[in-house]
Subunit: 307 residues, 2 copies
């Protein structure tokens, strides 16, 4: 079993995680959780998205939240999701230095999201990437439904490779292959990521998994075996999937970090502080979170022998 | 990624699963679930244990339940857990053809369970294995805490190998390496199982995992990469762990089968029928079960495009 030596966690709880929560968090509440991320040494945080507040009310205070955390930009990378050029312009106006743009590998899914085919999105991407370049904004692209589409089913690996080929003509910092609705299995993850890593050896690929069908950590294991060292994760495992009510959400940050550290793969994150972040978020949201290590404790936890 | 081609599932829901449930299932209720197992083509079922009914009330009707399902013994292997020679004698008296004996690799854990050190259990095992042999009863041995002990912490791989060495002097059908309280990580699973498989190439090893810290399916992936083809699993993921209240239980049978089938690893189990077994059990127990595929549906499930 060939593994990587260290892994970077890209925390998406504030965006992908909160997006489906019914409770809208105030800036103060977001800051409460953010403080634990800082203490835990989380190095990359997607702090929100510049979408229309009517579409995603949870993201309405993204500018305000950013103005409070911007001062910590030297310690960690703070990234905003932008759905389009307009979002990128708002990001720029707010002084954001790093953005994540999402397009979907599945035509049907992309059309549902932005009323464009994938090719149309790839064409309009030129303008966006140029704008980011000219303004010194680091650009990450997330390729949604890379491992399957809830409408179309299988998305051929060849199609993903072609999309990557087109994207890599542009000035991009990272590409994240995303399993948007938790359809990926470990074999598929290994095969697609291995091909991408082999084809573009020096480019930075990340993976984004959901735990919808319980395979989240197995998929990360498979990704590591293929050489992927960057993983999105959501504190407490919040997130969910609009297509599967009751299903669990993104892979849970503390569960991922726990598994990696147990395996001797370094993350630089303080797991105990991270678990505190999860407890804090649970308290704020007022409901149980899907993450398991925050409930069960670490594997290394010893129990007193009953007398 | 080297994988196995097919996998046998050893269903432990009736024993390890129900053991921690507050509701005691009647024989009729157990039969209701069992019928779905038959329809789903589940080939190995641990149907109960011959322990003192005062210790585990959920197992009190094991004899009665077995008398109803014994007729299906040609279709599937029906196994009873026996804690000691007395349990084995009761199993024999009931006409049981296959038993599972558990001893713990950790002295402290073994002492908690049977008031003996591991070595003492290994010594008294001779009598038990002889009795099984003489009576034509197939004997499986589960080595509990093979991947860690909640009291002692790490259990050295060398210790496990020595226990296996001693056990293999006897007439045993299979040895199951069990992660009794969900402490195993995939790297550890790969290393221990790989060593066991390399050392005793023609012997049948299985693995038993809990999903206490979310690593259940990742551990199965690691086991498959080492060549293990037999896995314990519990319908609906019931089971839990007395040390971690609120934590999830055994790896969930339908989630395991779903992952394997998605990866092209054959199980011979009808997943749709298996999911029905899980729904039935949920109805009987009257609470939500930890399994995720029964909630989210299979990855292959397609959704209508919103108009």
């Amino acid at each position: 079993m060939k593994l990587v030596h260290d892994v970077t966690i890209y925390e998406v709880g504030f965006r992908d995680g909160l997006q489906l929560e019914s409770k809208v968090l105030s800036v103060e509440e977001k800051l409460d959780v953010f403080t634990f991320f800082r203490d835990a040494n989380v190095s990359e945080v997607e702090f929100g998205s510049f979408v229309h507040p009517k579409l995603v009310p949870q993201m309405a205070n993204t500018s305000d939240f950013y103005s409070h955390i911007q001062q910590f930009e030297e310690e960690m990378e703070l990234v905003a999701l932008v759905p389009n050029l307009k979002g990128l312009e708002i990001a720029k106006a707010n002084g954001v230095r790093s953005v994540n743009y999402v397009l979907s590998a599945s035509n049907t899914h992309n059309q549902q999201n932005v009323r464009q085919t994938t090719d149309e999105s790839l064409n309009s991407f030129k303008v966006l990437s140029q704008f980011a370049s000219e303004n010194g904004i680091a650009l990450n692209v997330t390729v949604a439904t890379s491992f399957g589409c809830p409408f179309e089913g299988t998305v051929p690996q060849k199609r993903i490779m072609k999309i990557l080929d087109t994207l890599l003509l542009h000035n991009i910092k990272r590409i994240t292959l995303a399993d948007t609705t938790g359809m990926a299995n470990p074999k598929q993850v290994y095969e697609l990521t291995k091909e991408a890593v082999n084809e573009w050896r020096n480019f930075e690929f990340g993976c984004h998994f959901h735990n919808t069908r319980g395979m989240g950590l197995a998929n990360i294991l498979a990704g590591m075996e293929a050489g992927i060292t960057i993983y999105d994760a959501s504190i407490g495992g919040i997130g969910g999937c609009p297509f599967a009510p009751g299903a669990t959400g993104n892979v849970c940050t503390e569960d991922v970090v726990h598994m990696l550290e147990e395996m001797g793969v370094k993350t630089s994150i303080d797991l105990d502080r991270l678990i505190q972040a999860s407890h804090k978020l649970k308290e704020i949201l007022g409901h149980d979170l899907p993450g398991q290590v925050a409930k069960a404790g670490k594997s290394s936890r010893k129990y007193p022998v009953p007398s």
